[in-house]
């Protein structure tokens, strides 16, 4: 019986510490399974799945990235850093990173919008739940459906053009056919789709701030803006931090909406679209893996920086 090392500080007496007096005989469970194996009985399947579908792929990906493998043939030649050199020196491969900036800029807007509406709707308002539902609902809609909705929306003479013409700005244009507006339009769709999630997260965080704080502030004559500045903003900092990190890694790994709507045409190819095309259309598994490793490293780096800058559980309200 060596499974319970006494270094583990058990806050509560754990179930597997046998009650005094029944020390030895009770230890092998019915069915003859030794106690120390019981946790593994529960962990075996989850761990096998975790390793098979997360760690093995990551390890393989790193390995493929140093080869010229095409994904099919048994032949794999070790090419060292050649794939990485290509990614950083071939402008057409590297350019896709710049598309991320459109989505990054959009996510700044998205977080600002979400923050505004979360603050507004955390106070008592008429039709509060209705507005809340309308703002959140886009997040739940199927991505392909959203793609089609906005494909129609951005058509030449489509919804957007019609609405704009009400305001006398009636320009007929194919918003997605023009490289100048295509990425902006797509990034706009991403704001439409994801602002609701940020909004609900912020709203939840705001509502977990104790109500007495607002009451006290109101008694002191604080305005709404002052309440936001000094109570709400610091109170929900961890959620904002989380949203920022999700926004950055999300902007780097955009796939669905541009793939469905434009297929990556007119300069809207994102990093993931390119990787998918390299791997599954051009059979350049090695190069695609290198690209994926680069993306993974960037996201890990950003996560690490964020953890440094905004440490968890540092909510100092009261």
């Amino acid at each position: 019986m060596t499974e319970t090392t006494h270094t583990a500080p058990a806050k509560v007496p754990r179930a597997d510490a046998p009650p005094p007096g029944t020390a030895r005989p009770s230890s092998p469970r019915r069915g003859g399974l030794p106690r120390r194996l019981t946790p593994w009985l529960f962990l075996a399947v989850p761990l096998v799945l975790l390793v098979t579908f997360t760690y093995v792929p990551v390890a393989n990906m790193v390995y493929y990235s140093f080869t010229d493998w095409d994904g099919v043939s048994p032949e794999r030649n070790f090419t060292g850093l050649e794939n990485y050199r290509q990614i950083f020196t071939r402008p057409e491969l590297f350019r896709v990173f710049f598309v991320s900036f459109y989505y990054l800029a959009a996510s700044v807007l998205q977080i600002a919008i979400a923050l505004y509406f979360a603050t507004v709707l955390s106070f008592n308002l008429r039709f509060r739940n209705l507005f809340k539902g309308i703002l959140f609902f886009p997040y739940l809609i199927n991505g392909v459906a959203i793609g089609f909705v906005f494909l129609y929306f951005f058509q030449d003479g489509g919804t957007l053009d019609s609405v704009l013409s009400w305001f006398g700005a009636g320009t007929d244009r194919a918003w997605l056919g023009d490289p100048e507006t295509a990425n902006t339009s797509l990034a706009g769709v991403s704001v439409w789709r994801y602002a609701g999630l940020n909004f609900v997260l912020f709203l939840g965080a705001i509502q977990s701030i104790p109500a007495e704080l607002y009451e006290a502030a109101q008694l002191d004559g604080a305005t709404r803006w002052q309440q936001f500045r000094h109570i709400i903003a610091p109170g929900i900092r961890p959620v904002i931090g989380l949203s920022v990190i999700l926004a950055i890694s999300g902007s780097l790994s955009v796939f669905e909406i541009p793939y469905i709507m434009t297929g990556g045409a007119t300069g809207t190819t994102t990093f993931v679209i390119q990787t998918v095309k390299l791997a599954f259309q051009f059979n350049k598994t090695g190069l695609a893996s290198a690209a994926a490793v680069v993306l993974l490293l960037i996201i890990l780096l950003i996560t690490w920086i964020q953890r440094r800058l905004v440490p968890d559980e540092k909510v100092d309200l009261v």
């Binding site: 019981t38 579908f53 003479g157």
Partner: protein, 282 residues
């Protein structure tokens, strides 16, 4: 008195602006959807002639829905999606709760490394590893089968483990102990005591997972390219080809896919908000 005037005026103006901003935002959300709904009721002639915002001549013209449903193979798509949903959700609940039970209720030497394995995995975004994951799935011979997405959805959901872990901490250990004294073994305790008490957490996981799986495009698109294996997402995506510019059919298909989500949302609103708030903040 005069000093207070500007403050008074903003106080009266502020609610108006607030409501105005809310109405504008609601319109921005609703107009694209409403237009697609209107289009789904139009005849192809009406789509060609009228502007995007014109109204359909016959509000009960459901012909496009019938076309989209049969020609778009939506029935089999709903069937496949339901099958995948059933298995991946059941799997996720069992796997998540078992992991949480093992990690929270036992002290064993490898506990910290195991926790670390799950924790580090959260940092790896699924999209980045898909090229390599594809090879793993392929080597099991699961490519082009419904089991590929099912296994992937089950095996990579770390969020649910966190939700269960957080919840299981709140269940007093004394319950386990009492059952153990009555002669229950570990498996019985998990099955008869822990799992029933986890119901609220299970509801959260089922909702989050259900919506994610229903809406996912990437995994079925990569792993199940054959046409009979279409899910909601991939079947709808295929509308792009044969229906070309037939917007009345594409719109009908789109609305068909959105309606179930809308119904679930209307009935489970409160749980959905809570679920997402819990799920995302770990």
């Amino acid at each position: 008195m005069t000093l207070h005037l500007p403050a008074r005026r903003t106080r009266r103006l502020a609610p108006v602006l607030t409501y105005l901003s809310l109405i504008v935002a609601s319109l921005v959300v609703l107009i694209p959807l409403v237009v697609v709904f209107l289009t789904s009721l139009k005849t192809s002639q009406e789509v060609a002639d009228g502007g995007a915002l014109s109204l359909p001549g016959n509000w009960l013209n459901f012909g496009n829905y019938a076309t989209a449903f049969t020609d778009g193979k939506m029935l089999s798509a709903f069937g496949n999606t339901a099958f995948i949903l059933l298995f991946s959700i059941t799997g996720t609940v069992l796997i998540g709760s078992m992991t949480a039970y093992a990690i929270d209720r036992f002290d064993f030497r490898a506990k910290k490394p195991v926790m670390a394995l799950f924790l580090i995995a959260t940092l790896v975004p699924g999209v980045t590893t898909q090229v390599a994951t594809f090879q793993v799935v392929n080597s099991f011979g699961l490519f082009n089968s419904v089991w590929a997405p099912i296994l992937l959805y089950m095996g990579t959901d770390i969020v649910s483990i966190y939700i269960f872990l957080q919840f299981i901490r709140g269940i007093p250990v004394s319950l386990d102990e009492a059952a153990r004294l009555d002669g229950a073994n570990t498996l019985t305790i998990y099955w008869k005591i822990i799992l029933p008490l986890l119901k609220p957490a299970i509801a959260t996981v089922v909702i989050i997972k259900g919506i994610t799986v229903y809406n996912d495009f990437y995994i079925p698109f990569l792993y199940m390219p054959s046409e009979e294996l279409g899910t909601i997402s991939t079947a709808l995506f295929r509308f792009k080809g044969p229906f070309g510019a037939h917007w009345e059919h594409i719109s009908a298909g789109t609305i068909l896919v959105i309606v179930p989500t809308l119904l679930v949302f209307l009935f489970l609103q409160r749980y959905i908000y809570n679920g997402f708030a819990q799920g995302a903040t770990k």
